[in-house]
């Protein structure tokens, strides 16, 4: 009797041992496997924002130097936004308040692009931003090129102008710096080494992507869904969402990527929610026959993209996010990681 029990116990022990060993082997495997994430998408879709989120989530946030850089960029951007809106006022034939006309003139005479930020200019920006004509111009911003985050920063102008202003993480996440070239950043995500490739999204940047296509583990394609009524930065005629769809189709079916799993991240959903109440989606996508609400439109967009990238060799995962929201992005990356793990284990025959 005792002997039998002992045998049974031994068997159990062996089984448990094996299990533990297998787990160890698995985790070992996972840790050794270099993961390469390719973040692609059209210009201004939020690719670099994802990278910034990873900096917050998996590294120690932004350095002092980063913050200095962003502070300068944010402040310079405010001037740029005001100028764009002023031009919008002119274009739309709106009338500024009398007292603001002189200021507006001075503003428009500021040299283009050159970084120009003085205490006077920030005060003037504030005054102009409070002008109803400027608000009107802002409402019609889809007609000219204005960064999505302009509203966020203009609303925070007091804080940004204050002497001790230090950009918060949220400010940095919202701050747009257009990317040029290809950046490879390494992260350690729950003990797993990730190599993340961030690229510029404009047309002129896309030919550089191919240099990093090989060895990709997973493709993350970012789509800014709120862009459906906006025109391209590069040619001012093509609809941005159309462009993004076309780009996805060609990229996802590229010979190096066609068998890679893919995550489509529908981004800027917060801005999309606002916009859908004001701008009819049907105006931009005539095929769309549904009713103009968030759920139906997003479902429609999703179908378009999934169809464009679908083939038998890959799985497509869809996520919705607002890339400036750290919690949402943490959720996305958790999901991405479990996909990757599953994949690795499958490849090694564990599953």
């Amino acid at each position: 009797m005792g002997n039998k029990n002992l045998k049974k116990k031994r068997k159990e022990e062996i089984a448990r041992n094996e299990l533990v060993e297998q787990e160890l082997k698995k985790s070992d495997l996972v840790q050794k496997q270099q993961v390469k994430l390719l973040i692609l998408g059209a210009g201004d879709s939020g690719k670099s924002t994802l990278l910034k989120q990873m900096q917050i989530l998996y590294k120690d946030g932004f350095s002092k130097e980063d913050k200095q850089l962003y502070r300068n960029v944010i402040r310079t951007n405010i001037i740029t936004y005001i100028k764009i809106l002023l031009k919008g006022v002119q274009m739309l034939d709106l009338k500024l308040h009398k007292s603001n006309e002189k200021i507006a003139e001075d503003f428009l005479n500021l040299p283009d692009i050159i970084d120009s930020f003085t205490p006077n200019s920030i005060l003037a920006s504030k005054q102009l931003w409070n002008d109803p004509a400027m608000k009107m111009s802002f409402e019609k911003r889809a007609q000219f090129q204005l960064a999505d985050s302009a509203g966020y920063f203009l609303d925070n102008i007091d804080r940004i102008a204050s002497e001790n202003y230090k950009p918060s993480d949220q400010d940095i996440l919202n701050c747009r710096i257009s990317t040029t070239g290809v950046k490879v950043v390494e992260f350690l995500v729950n003990n797993q080494p990730w190599k993340v490739v961030d690229v510029g999204g404009q047309r002129s940047e896309r030919k550089k992507w191919i240099h990093h296509f090989d060895d990709t583990t997973l493709l993350i394609y970012v789509v800014a869904v709120n862009e459906y009524d906006q025109k391209l930065f590069e040619d001012n005629t093509t609809n941005r969402l159309h462009e993004s769809l076309k780009l996805f189709e060609t990229t996802a079916n590229n010979q190096f990527l066609s068998n890679k799993n893919c995550v489509i991240l529908f981004n800027k959903t917060d801005l999309f929610k606002d916009k859908i109440q004001k701008v009819n989606f049907n105006k931009c996508f005539e095929d769309f026959k549904g009713s103009n609400n968030y759920e139906e439109v997003i479902k429609f967009i999703k179908t378009l993209f999934v169809k464009a990238g679908k083939n038998t060799k890959r799985s497509i995962f869809v996520h919705y996010s607002c890339a400036t929201n750290t919690n949402e992005i943490r959720f996305v990356f958790d999901a991405v990681q479990s996909t990757i793990l599953e994949n690795i284990l499958k490849e090694q025959g564990f599953m």
Binding site: L69, D115, S116, T118, A161, T180, G200, F233
Partner: protein, 432 residues
Amino acid sequence: MSILQESKFIDIQSTFLRLANVVSNMACNFDNLLYSIQSLFKYLTHLLRNYSMFFDPQGTLNSSIKKIQNILLKMLEEWSQFFIECDSKHIQKVHSLYLICRKIQDQLKEREIMLEKLENENIQNEQFQQFENNLLKDMEIIIEKRHDFLSETFIQFSNGFLNFFKQYSEKTKEILLLVQDKSHTEIVDMEDPITEASSIEFIFRNKYGRKFLGNFLKKEFCFENLDFFIEVENYKKIEDPIEMHKKAQEIYNKFVKENSESEINIEYGIRNQIKNQLPNADSTIFDQAKQIVIRLIKTNSLSRFLESEDFEKLIQRLQPKQFLFTEKSNIPMTSISDPTTTQSQIETDSEISIDESLNDDASDSDESFHAPFSFLPAMKKSILRSKSELFHPEQKESETFFGHRFTRSNSLLLFQQQKSFSKPFFSQINEN
């Protein structure tokens, strides 16, 4: 304010220059013994000049302070190492000096840790200053205590060092204040175009700056930005209208046109504007686009470049190979107009350039020296030879800062003898 800051920085710089010269004058009295210190301060000066060219409010200054500190530490380490190996007859004196070095070295190390803490905002500025004051007191005590052991020259040197350190510490405070001004209170014109541009513009305008930045940008696939910038700069120099028109078309085809070979990332409006202006191209046609690419490089690549190997290489390249002997390098520098430049500084400079011609016939030294202490045997020899001078200085005080005169013959001899071991010493520093 920014200009004020710049002038402050230049002031700091010239103080360093002056100090470096004072120390080098003193070093001459020790003959070869303190040669390494002299060269070190020269190196330090040079480094500061280099860094000033990259001076920007975004923290490079901090790292330059760190570098200086590292060098000081290194100097003291080598120095004390040397004393260990020194002649046994003077063991007592040497030993006490060695202890002083050791002590100062430890304190400096501690100071560095504190400085780091300060940068990371783990401690307050006042705390650091408190520490600094204590440190200075400690040093004074250390040096005072040993007075009886030491020869007059050593005491003078120690005091000189102490003085140097005091001033250095003052300057550190100033720099720290500047840096803090920038990040906490000085908002007004933080978007200071002059200082901001000076760093990147230096890189853009310097031959090697372009080369190494270019290498870096190629790795990140955005070299076209720099390429375009350079082409536009060349374009602006063209005077002949026909030639100019041709070049404008060339640049347009290569960088601006849609789907062109090295298309730059500019928005539709600007590209269109260039296209429309092309038939009547003037020298400003690409200016707006140029500003954009500068900005792209500045916001995208510059900070990464400053941390890259390529930047390290650039710094090394900018240091003339034998800058000891060619102090007046041909690198474009931020102009240093310092009315207080001492006579001795001018003297030193002229000595150096005279010496350049003598370098070639001064290479008769021992081949078996090895880095990093390859210069020690030679130093020992010369110490033994000149020990009487060394420990019983006979020179009369003159009007110079620490009461020692810099003599021409002395320095010529010095440079001739020491030329052979200057290189390994520096290559070692450069690696760090």
